[in-house]
């Protein structure tokens, strides 16, 4: 039959590495945004958080106006929801159903799978940033222009750190546990982990712990960059450290099946 007419044995039949990663990235992106519940987590909840923060006085004295303090925190929330919770849960269930196993036998391979997921996270995060930023502008958001480049760097670093953490959890425990852990972490980090509210707003005795969390590094650095245009070297270093440690641990302990 026609399926095997062009067998050219001995030579690679795979498309280039770049193309593989792009194709897998597109596939993972579509997988991420196809689900209705993903859309709720990716867009509806961050928008609710934005409105909640602007129309209450929860963020008094953080910035000149509540909207300026709210947008950076909501962007940080998007990072955690997309890179960590959404991607972690999807990976956990992919592992359960043997999808990782199957795809790692195709030209995608393990490298392609990981980069595909990272790409999907970055694409979805860009879309969230556009939506949140756009709604923010309509609501009068005025970011410090000098901090925008820093903010982009911090968003990317945050995405890297939380993707690595999400993969570490998804690759080592059952998918149900991944679901529970990443959702719980999302709520806790959003509330008291320095995501939506500055880490200085939590009780003093837990601040030393909160301050070294990637969530506080992400949230506080984004606020510093977008409210006052300053770069937080410490925050960037903490995010880098988390990326390296979690990345190493995920490489070491990730179970493909």
């Amino acid at each position: 039959m026609s399926t095997n007419t062009q067998a050219a044995s001995g030579t690679s039949n795979a498309v280039s590495t770049f193309k593989r990663i792009m194709l897998q990235g597109r596939y993972e992106t579509l997988a991420m945004i196809r689900n209705g519940e993903q859309l709720v987590i990716a867009v509806v909840l961050p928008l609710m958080a934005l409105f909640g923060l602007v129309f209450t006085d929860l963020l008094k004295n953080v910035a000149a106006r509540p909207i300026d303090a709210a947008v950076p925190g909501v962007l940080a929330l998007c990072v955690v929801s997309t890179a960590f919770t959404g991607q972690g849960i999807a990976t956990g269930f992919d592992r359960r159903y043997g999808v990782m196993r199957y795809l790692s036998t195709t030209p995608v391979g393990r490298t392609g799978l990981i980069y595909g997921k990272v790409m999907a996270v970055l694409v979805v995060l860009s879309m969230q940033t556009i939506v949140i930023g756009g709604v923010g502008f309509i609501m009068g958001w005025q970011p410090a222009l000098g901090g925008i480049a820093w903010a982009i760097l911090i968003l990317i670093l945050g995405a890297a750190a939380f993707t690595a953490l999400g993969l570490l959890i998804a690759g080592t425990v059952r998918p149900e546990a991944t679901l529970a852990i990443t959702n719980l972490a999302w709520v806790l980090l959003a509330g008291v982990g320095g995501i939506l509210f500055p880490s200085t707003s939590v009780p003093a005795f837990i601040q030393p712990i909160i301050n070294v969390l990637p969530s506080a590094a992400l949230g506080d650095s984004l606020r510093a960059a977008l409210i006052s245009g300053t770069a937080s070297g410490t925050g960037i270093l903490i995010l880098l450290a988390w990326t390296l440690i979690a990345g190493f641990a995920a490489t070491r302990w990730f179970k493909w099946n």
Partner: protein, 315 residues
């Protein structure tokens, strides 16, 4: 013609197992096999014999604890995308993303290859159009199998690994799948499959490795394996039906005559013409003309059971 797959002395341990005081369990204990292009090589064994673990090592999904594997001349563990692009894999559990529909998945897989198979022809051939609007999660076991087979063939591979390819298939799809496997074999592919079903092994295989307890205990073509058994201790059985009131005769010690249902007789242990003569002599004495008579050729199942029995005796 060099073999596509050579496995030598493959060892694999699982564990540590808490129930065994944290000891490791050896699941592969020296498997050796060779698979050639243009041939269906079957790993036959009961559940837990080590067939799928052997395939997982050959596919590069598991790192062996000992022994050597050469797949198209490369070590499959951590293999290059170039090697993976020449090998198609159908896993036992499918490994298909449940939320996708079959055709978008197949299109994605196809896009990863420079010289893919004609995926539309495969979709048509395997009847995937019939359920193309259903997400994989909602497909029946047999439908999933067909999608997994199409995915394994999407890259026009030189070697395909099929783990229990007929599991869950209805007789009609089974025929389609078996015909396809035979055609691919004729087109020169190296096909390595596992099954615990003797009938499938007998129907499809050019060469069979019987796997028991992590090692290959017998190998050969189906004809060789069944012939071997006839020459050894296992013998044929004669079944016939006659008057249930018959008194059973004295027969040679290695023969066993059973009335397994009223009027239904079975003589086991027939090895040579004389054994049959003693049966027909008894019929002549008693004026029995059986209403029906059949002699079963040795099947792979008999060979398998014999080998498995021997193994159990040793244990």
């Amino acid at each position: 013609m060099s073999p596509s797959l050579v496995i030598e002395g493959l060892l694999k341990d699982f564990g540590p197992v808490p129930a065994l005081d944290g000891r490791m369990v050896r699941v592969l204990n020296g498997i050796s096999l060779t698979a050639n292009p243009g041939s269906v090589t079957t790993l036959l064994g009961s559940n837990g014999a080590g067939k799928s673990t052997t395939l997982a090592c050959a596919q590069g999904l598991l790192r062996p604890d000992g022994g050597k594997i050469s797949l198209l001349g490369e070590d499959p563990y951590g293999a290059s995308p170039a090697l993976r692009s020449r090998v198609g894999v159908m896993l036992q559990d499918g490994g298909l993303p449940p939320s996708l529909r079959p055709i978008p998945l197949l299109r994605h897989v196809t896009s990863l290859y420079q010289r893919p198979a004609d995926i539309n022809a495969l979709i048509e051939r395997l009847g995937i159009n019939e359920f193309s609007n259903t997400s994989i999660r909602r497909l029946s076991g047999g439908q999933k199998q067909r999608v997994a087979l199409a995915a394994a063939l999407a890259g026009n591979p030189e070697v395909i690994f099929l783990d229990e390819p007929s599991a869950g298939l209805d007789p009609q799809s089974r025929q389609v799948v078996f015909d396809l496997i035979t055609e691919l074999r004729d087109a020169g592919l190296c096909i390595v499959l596992t099954t615990h079903l003797m009938e499938d092994a007998q129907r499809l295989s050019d060469y069979v490795y019987i796997i028991d307890d992590g090692i290959n205990v017998a190998q050969g073509t189906v004809a060789e394996l069944t012939a071997r058994a006839t020459h050894e201790s296992t013998a044929q059985a004669v079944t016939f039906s006659a008057d249930p009131a018959l008194e059973l005769p004295e027969l040679a010690g290695h023969l066993l005559l059973l009335e397994h249902a009223p009027g239904q007789y079975r003589l086991e242990g027939v090895r040579e013409a004389n054994d049959l003569a003693s049966l027909t002599a008894w019929w002549a004495r008693e004026s029995i003309l059986p209403q029906s008579l059949s002699m079963q050729p040795r099947s792979l199942e008999d060979v398998f059971l014999e080998i498995a029995d021997k193994g159990n005796d040793v244990n």
